[in-house]
């Protein structure tokens, strides 16, 4: 297990390095003068020059990069150009909201997707299977912003059951979580179905049936355990996806997460916030991937030995 772990952690190091280069590179590649952009439109030339020296933007790029990494490691992400607050404060509260939304979405996706996929595999080619397969293709084709608007239109405007936007209590998470989960429900159901079908064709399942075990025991005890292993990888990836792609859902519901923060920052060219949000989302995505891989390998020795 240890060599595998070492390999994966080394790979994470490479990804984190790439992430830091990308976040740093935004400042270098963006058209125009970053110092002028940071100083604001009504800044005097002297002010721009002072800022340039202060931020080290007059130094060579590699020197700037090392300075940037040193700052980020100590938790200094700079100050927002709009709110003038330290970026790290904004990121902390926003990330908590995004994490909460992603967790609830994943729970929704698992509770619906897993039983649906397993049922489709067990009753293969039944109308139930057709319905679930069709629904999962529809779910994968659903534009999340449209689903969100339709849900708001029906449950908030028409029925008045749930709030339309913001985050002021637990009922606020319902519609965003369902919207964000739709794609994952489809993916998880589809994967659960194919994993289960693979396992149900295996010899030991046939043996279990041959010795007269009840179908519920064969499926629930023998097949399920092995079908769940590859699912761990897919579910983990979904969690990363839910964190990384929540910008659209957060925008529809004005959910105060990192995604909404990032989209707003891009529109207002708030560079320190963009850099910080990109760094945070990408790093947490990579970290989730690592945890999933390690969990996967500890469940299935074949993975870490190959």
């Amino acid at each position: 297990m240890l060599p595998y772990l070492a390999r994966r952690v080394a790979a994470l190091g490479v990804v984190l390095f790439a992430v830091s280069v990308i976040a740093f590179g935004i400042l270098q590649l963006i058209p125009g003068d970053p110092a002028a952009l940071m100083a604001g439109v009504d800044a005097q030339p002297a002010e721009v020059e002072r800022l340039r020296a202060e931020l080290g933007l007059d130094r060579p790029a590699p020197v700037q990069y090392v300075r940037y990494v040193r700052r980020v490691v100590t938790g200094d992400f700079g100050r927002s150009l709009r709110s003038h607050q330290p970026v790290v404060m904004d990121l902390a509260t926003r990330f908590r909201a995004s994490l909460f939304l992603a967790s609830v979405s994943l729970a929704v996706a698992l509770v619906i997707g897993l039983p649906a996929g397993i049922a489709a595999a067990v009753w293969r080619t039944s109308p139930w299977d057709t319905a679930i397969t069709t629904a999962s293709v529809l779910g994968a084709s659903m534009p999340p912003f449209w689903l969100g608007l339709i849900l708001i239109g029906f449950f908030s405007v028409r029925l008045g059951w749930l709030p339309t936007s913001g985050y002021e209590g637990s009922e606020y998470v319902v519609l965003p979580a369902v919207t964000l989960a739709a794609f994952s429900v489809a993916t998880i159901a589809r994967t659960a179905r194919s994993c289960m079908l693979d396992v149900l064709g295996d010899d030991y399942v046939r043996t279990a049936r041959a010795k007269g075990l009840a179908e519920a025991v064969v499926v629930g005890k023998h097949a399920l355990k092995n079908a769940v292993i590859p699912l761990v990888a897919v579910v983990g990836l979904q969690f990363g996806y839910l964190l990384g792609a929540s910008a659209v859902t957060e925008t529809v519901f004005t959910w105060p997460g990192v995604g909404l923060l990032l989209v707003d920052a891009i529109k207002h060219r708030d560079l320190p916030v963009i850099q910080g949000a990109v760094l945070l989302v990408a790093a947490s995505f990579a970290l989730v991937n690592l945890l999933v891989d390690v969990l996967y390998a500890s469940l299935d020795p074949r993975i870490r030995l190959s």
């Binding site: 659903m142 534009p143 912003f145 449209w146 989209v263 990109v278 990408a282």
Partner: protein, 281 residues
């Protein structure tokens, strides 16, 4: 895909046929669109603002009295152009890189494929947002961002296919005859990696459309008043409570076309019997 067998098998694949039908309808509407509707998509009519669907306006009108049907039909052309351009760009860049790396091997392969691995280890949506931040908002930049998002998937497929071909006898024979690398790649390798790339392209059309319309919805892609479906939804959002038809139809169009691409891609994958499950959503 030439000739009978593959076409015949696709026509017997139920989901594939539905996908083919939807895609064909989408192509027809985008190409013949202007001939199908009598009203211009930008034509405002202040006596018919936010009217629900009727005989005169099948999909109703928006907040400037513009005909929603006409805008959805013209939007089809825009979506087709966006998606085709982005996927073609990604296919050329990603597929080309992957095939080259898989065939060449060595240090070049290592560097190229590790770079692709790093891209895959990051959220694709975030990569697209970073691209928009650097390039700026606009239609051409949207195409580039969506293409960048799709490059790793094509590189992986191209790489795997070319790698599998390298030891093949006909490739080895061509090498031993002293054929140039360009000739081997174009005459022997390319024809044999086309089918997995075509399948991937069809599936990628679906994600490309979702991503392009998402970015336009966020205000980071095609800008109003151009009748792009995602941008129309962003606009119609404010009138959701009184005139849901303004968001209903453009969204339905996105979903239907995405569904068509997905079903067609699944069908093609099944008939080519490929195992191409991409881990990237």
């Amino acid at each position: 895909m030439k000739g009978g067998p593959a076409t015949g098998r696709l026509l017997r694949h139920r989901a594939g046929v539905v996908g083919l039908g939807i895609t064909a309808l989408f192509l027809l509407v985008s190409l013949a669109g202007p001939a199908l509707v009598s009203v211009q998509p930008m034509e405002t009519n202040f006596r018919a603002i936010l009217k629900p669907p009727s005989a005169a306006h099948w999909f109703g009108t928006d907040e400037l009295g513009r005909d929603v049907l006409s805008r959805v039909v013209y939007g089809a052309r825009i979506s087709l152009e966006l998606v085709l351009a982005a996927v073609a760009l990604a296919l050329l860049a990603g597929g080309g890189l992957g095939i080259w790396a898989g065939f060449r091997g060595g240090a070049g392969e290592m560097v190229a494929m590790r770079a692709i691995d790093v891209l895959l280890a990051l959220p694709g949506f975030l990569i697209a947002l970073v691209a928009i931040t650097i390039l700026g908002v606009g239609t051409v930049n949207l195409v580039i961002a969506v293409a960048i998002y799709s490059v790793p998937a094509f590189a992986r497929v191209g790489h795997a296919a070319a790698l599998a071909l390298r030891p093949a006898e006909f490739v080895q024979a061509a090498i031993s005859q002293g054929a140039t690398e360009a000739r081997i790649l174009s005459r022997h390798v390319l024809p044999n990696v086309l089918s997995p790339l075509i399948v991937q392209a069809s599936l990628r059309m679906a994600t490309a459309l979702l991503l392009a319309s998402s970015l336009s919805f966020l205000g980071l892609g095609v800008q109003p008043p151009v009748p792009e479906w995602g941008a129309m939804l962003a606009n119609g959002r404010s009138y959701l409570s009184t005139s849901p038809h303004v968001v209903l139809f453009p969204g339905l169009a996105i979903m239907l076309v995405t569904l068509g691409f997905n079903l067609l891609g699944d069908g093609l994958r099944d008939i080519f019997d490929l195992c191409l499950r991409s881990s990237q959503p």
